[in-house]
Point group: C2
Chain length 366, copies 2
């Protein structure tokens, strides 16, 4: 067979503020691949089906010299993230053509994968659509399920506040919390998302753009658990609305990812400040700041899912969550875009909150 | 016997900024007491020996309507805190004249105590000076010992950064850390305090007023444990210098207690900010902010000692720490002032860091 186009989506330029499709990242069709003859060097040839687009990808669009928990994207090279593909050829006895695999892949139509350490064969006994494995049954689902398990210490009757409650992580957290008998307060950035949150059982669903988070938490709080995907002022409001011994799960701070100057969460407390507030507004007797960590004896945990994907936890996750999805205990939305040329738009949507549901790039249906 | 003066130190006025001796609080000699005939109503009559002056007292100098973890002082009434006294008379069979007792007492020379629930008889087998029981063998010691036990997860060879390392809590934390085989970095606000920290075995002792905390942590970090007594910019520096999975013990934020506007710990991270910093200063590639909680998977715990004084923990503390003090494994400094009229000065010293060692008001020696 003659070489065919191998479309790729490349990192082109470090953004200032929001990433710009076609500038920050670009779609490229210059590479070709001969599927029959491309050398595999003991690896596998994978045809990409679905790629995940996630908020954290913004943090990788930085100079390579800046250290962080995950490596920077390389300018001129493909972006990459978790994806699902189908094996076309294999030189490794553990993989055979037709197997569906989940791994971190570069954003291109066809991938030669030689490091097979973290390539997982998906059994998919439940016959879920393959894109599910980059969403509710993929990293967002793992984040929600294993983060909740590790840090929530949830007790029936408690109240949780979940941010980005219509998103791929937040919506699953909200559903797990309901299944555990908690009252769920959840926020999102559109009325459409609020409707979805109500559908999945959220007790107090609100649009933070039109309703004050502080007021909602005053009315429906206090909160025993805070699932933070946004940071900034919302984190401050949560510190304020927390009960004694509340647990904060810090999963993301998307309100800050595209800011050119960061928001300052106030550290102080204390009489002089309070007095000043009392003079200004005698009803403002709350203290919105980090001193709440001590006064309320909070426990705050940073969550990155890869720490929690031990073999035992991974097994529990795949034994549990796909079945819950198949049964309807966990429902979710997908925001699908078709084709690798759509990656830039999908990334911007996720950063600006325009996506409605898990953002997925569908490269091919099968 | 005729009635005698019962000197008291009263809360007089809510301060703005630092408390002012003679204005915020005042010494009062108008009350008298007849030690022979004052009714005890089933309680005990205590002669005060030593009172503790602690940083947290500043937080109680607020309007009574402002809620916090500990009640506000009442204007016109005595201040109060932990103290040691000797029983003069008793109408309760568990207490006899001559017993030395530890409890929360109002700041007055003689106290009729009817609620005996939290009054502890001090055995003092080690014959420590009684003032020790408001310091290293009192609340500061309990805070250091039980807070370290609960949250440090210390492992030999790790590095801890202790703020107020010459203070009554910090100096004990530093010594416990050394005993556990850790490298100890500790800060204080004077060269004299630095000398004391070196004496108790601190590996890297520095004066934060003349040496940059950021630079010390860059050179001698990273840090696995942060014991925070100060908050503000120091907390920010610690977030920056933390290792992955570092533990933060939030015990106090004294840098903020007397500020009229609170310090903002930056929440943002991320490329646009970093880029801007890189443009300004290419060596500044660190990120000082709360996003570190996620990126480094930090665990942050608010510590108030009274949560940890379970009967088991109290027993362990009193079985262990006084003996360590007697043996010389824990050494400490006291900053004694004599007489209840000195309370205002002592409080201001503690708030401004002028005290050198545990601040104690000695009312009587025996």
């Amino acid at each position: 067979m003659a070489p065919i186009k191998n479309g790729r989506h490349l990192f082109n330029e470090i953004p200032v503020g929001y990433p710009i499709p076609g500038k920050t990242t670009i779609y490229d069709e210059n590479q070709t691949i001969d599927l029959d003859t491309v050398p595999l060097n003991g690896g596998i040839l994978v045809k990409a089906l679905s790629f995940s687009i996630d908020p954290y990808m913004r943090g990788r669009m930085r100079p390579a010299t800046v250290e962080s928990y995950v490596s920077a994207f390389t300018i001129g090279e493909p972006l990459g993230n978790n994806g699902v593909g189908v094996v076309l050829r294999s030189e490794n006895s553990s993989f055979k053509p037709g197997d569906h695999v989940w791994a971190y892949f570069p954003f291109q139509e066809y991938i030669v994968q030689t490091d097979l350490t973290n390539v997982k064969i998906l059994e998919n006994k439940e016959k879920l659509p393959w894109s599910t494995y980059v969403g509710a049954a993929g990293m967002p689902g793992q984040t929600a399920y294993l983060g909740w398990k590790a840090y929530s210490k949830a007790k029936k009757g408690e109240t949780v506040f979940v941010t980005t409650g219509a998103g791929p992580v937040g919506s699953i957290v909200a559903q797990l919390a309901k299944l555990a008998g908690l009252k769920v307060i959840a926020s999102a950035g559109s009325d459409e998302k609020v409707e979805f949150m109500k559908k999945i059982g959220v007790d107090v669903a609100f649009n933070y753009k039109t309703t004050s988070t502080v007021k909602v938490l005053e009315e429906h709080g206090p909160i025993d658990i805070y699932w933070d995907n946004v940071g900034g002022e919302t984190l401050e409001a949560a510190l304020d609305a927390a009960t004694n011994f509340a647990r904060f799960i810090e999963c993301g701070m998307i309100s800050q990812y595209n800011q050119t100057s960061p928001y300052g969460v106030k550290v102080g407390i204390f009489p002089s400040l309070l007095l000043r507030h009392n003079i200004l507004n005698s009803s403002l007797q709350r203290v919105q700041n980090l001193m709440n960590i001590i006064a309320k004896r909070l426990s705050i945990h940073g969550l990155l899912i890869f720490d929690h994907m031990t073999p035992e936890n991974a097994k529990e996750f795949y034994d549990t969550v796909p079945a819950m999805i198949a049964k309807g205990d966990i429902v979710f939305l997908e925001d699908k875009k078709y084709g690798l040329d759509q990656v830039g738009e999908a990334i911007l949507d996720v950063q600006s909150g325009k996506n409605h549901g898990k953002s997925v790039i569908v490269v091919a249906e099968e």
